[in-house]
């Protein structure tokens, strides 16, 4: 639950600037940018995502390090499941 998943902003939604299409652990999902109003990310930026919301902007190196951490913690599968579930793509 504490975990944060790194993602790369692909494009900011035209209709809603608080929504962005993000590349996260191999899938493209809509992520909420509502918590990053002070430091708005742009396409190409990396962010740390927690429960579908971007929490911080990070560097590409930080994103790679975070992926390593998730991998060693055995959380990659969980992170992928979570990312795939964003937007109810995985509706059960």
């Amino acid at each position: 639950m504490c975990l944060a998943i790194p993602g790369r902003i692909v494009e900011i939604s035209a209709e809603n600037p608080e929504s962005a299409l993000v590349d996260v652990v191999g899938v493209r999902r809509k992520i909420d940018l509502g918590l990053l109003q002070a430091d708005k990310p742009a396409p190409g930026d990396w962010v740390l995502i927690h429960v579908g919301f971007a929490m911080s902007k990070i560097s590409e190196q930080d994103a790679a390090d975070q992926m390593s951490t998730l991998r060693v913690l055995g959380e990659i599968e969980g992170a992928m499941q979570e990312a795939q579930g964003y937007g109810l793509e995985d509706l059960n």
């Binding site: 639950m1 913690l73 964003y86």
Partner: protein, 375 residues
């Protein structure tokens, strides 16, 4: 050594471990508490205890929101969810947490409409997709997660979505730390501060720990090097007799926190006068409830809440493990009646719970490549 390849600068990890051994010396016994469940998980998974000298003891704190939730709250929410028009939505890690009549997943097997969501905004989406039903989102988490729930509720209000509510179990980390420090059976020297909670609340809320309690606290990242560096920083302070708040996780945590997130929480929530924590009992002003402005989206206002209070089975020592008084394996049920496959308490269900982390560590100890091989 696959592990070594996963992280950059293995030499730096060795050097830092060496610095810890040098700083720790031999005479003094150091007790450091890591507050957040993510750090607990990391400590076991990285095998940190193997490379720390024996006189540094890591004690697990109560920072696992699933673990500290009393069973009665799950029972209350599931009781509401018995209504035929309700969809019960929650994160995956809630699904197997036992209530007295079973877990949410077990209720689903018996016909209750229970859905896993990975974001509160997806619970709201479920409401949009199911206009004939009411979606009740079972919200848990510390300040890391509360702002996202808050923003979602603000969106529900703006869009006029009426078939959505939140059963709010968000808790606050500072009162929990205060309760630990006030506990007579705890003796701690320092704290490894939570990483992602701090991206929201910043580092200022920890200042009283340093100033009033004279304990150093270092807000830490989650990589092995982050945690080792944090321990070095704590040791340096302890040897100098200092007590300050330091931020090791600067690349992610801003000292002032996240204003938008704090604003959203203030807009939607208010602090409960008290809340029951598993293991820690009732703690005043330690949890959030939905405020009057959002009463129409507050499941506890919309529905009858039975107010079930359940004490843990006498034999289960969840409370003592949560406070760090007992180690997981010292609980009488550990590894016998209570295992990850059939958990009795929440500390065994959640991957951040110290019992689950300890149990998995024990089983993988021989197979796991730990830092010990390079440090």
């Amino acid at each position: 050594m696959k592990f070594v390849d996963e992280f950059r600068e293995p030499e730096l990890i060795s050097k830092t471990a060496e610095e810890i051994r040098r700083l720790a010396g031999r005479e003094r016994h150091y007790r450091m508490m890591e507050v957040c469940g993510g750090h607990t998980h990391a400590i076991y998974r990285f095998g940190l205890k193997d490379i720390l000298p024996e006189n540094i003891e890591l004690i697990h704190g109560p920072g696992c929101p699933v673990c500290v939730l009393p069973m009665g709250r799950i029972d209350d929410a599931l009781a509401i969810a018995q209504r035929p028009d309700i969809i019960f939505a929650a994160f995956g890690d809630m699904m197997r947490v036992p209530g007295t009549q079973g877990s949410p997943l077990e209720h689903k097997a018996r016909g209750l409409d229970v859905r896993i969501v990975y974001s509160p905004s997806d619970a709201l989406k479920l409401a949009r997709l199911n206009p004939g039903k009411h979606v009740m989102f079972f919200a848990i988490g510390f300040e890391t997660t509360a702002p996202s729930t808050a923003l979602t509720m603000m969106r529900a209000k703006t869009e006029g979505i009426r078939n959505f509510s939140v059963f709010c179990n968000h808790v606050n980390i500072i009162p929990a730390i205060r309760a630990i420090l006030d506990s007579p059976d705890m003796r701690l020297d320092a704290f490894i501060g939570p990483g992602h909670v701090s991206t929201v609340i910043g580092c200022r809320p920890y200042e009283w720990i340093a100033q009033n309690e004279h304990k150093p606290i270092v807000v830490s990242g989650f990589e092995p090097l982050d945690m080792l560096q944090s321990i070095v920083m704590l040791l340096r302070q302890l040897r100098e007799g200092k007590a300050r708040v330091e931020n090791q996780y600067k690349r992610v945590v801003p000292w002032e926190g996240n204003r938008a997130a704090l604003k959203a929480m203030a807009e939607v929530f208010q602090v409960r006068p008290y809340f029951e924590w598993r293991g820690l009992g009732f703690i005043s002003q330690s949890a959030l409830r939905v405020n009057e402005r959002y009463a129409d989206w507050d499941a506890e206002q919309l529905f009858e809440v039975p107010g079930i209070r359940v004490t843990d089975p006498k034999a289960a020592q969840c409370g003592e493990v949560l406070k760090g008084v007992l180690k997981p394996h010292q609980c009488k049920l550990f590894g016998r009646e209570c295992t990850p496959e059939h958990p009795v308490g929440a500390l065994m269900v959640s991957s951040e719970g110290s019992c689950a982390a300890y149990h998995n560590y024990e089983h993988r100890k021989t197979a796991m490549v730990s830092l010990a091989s390079i440090a």
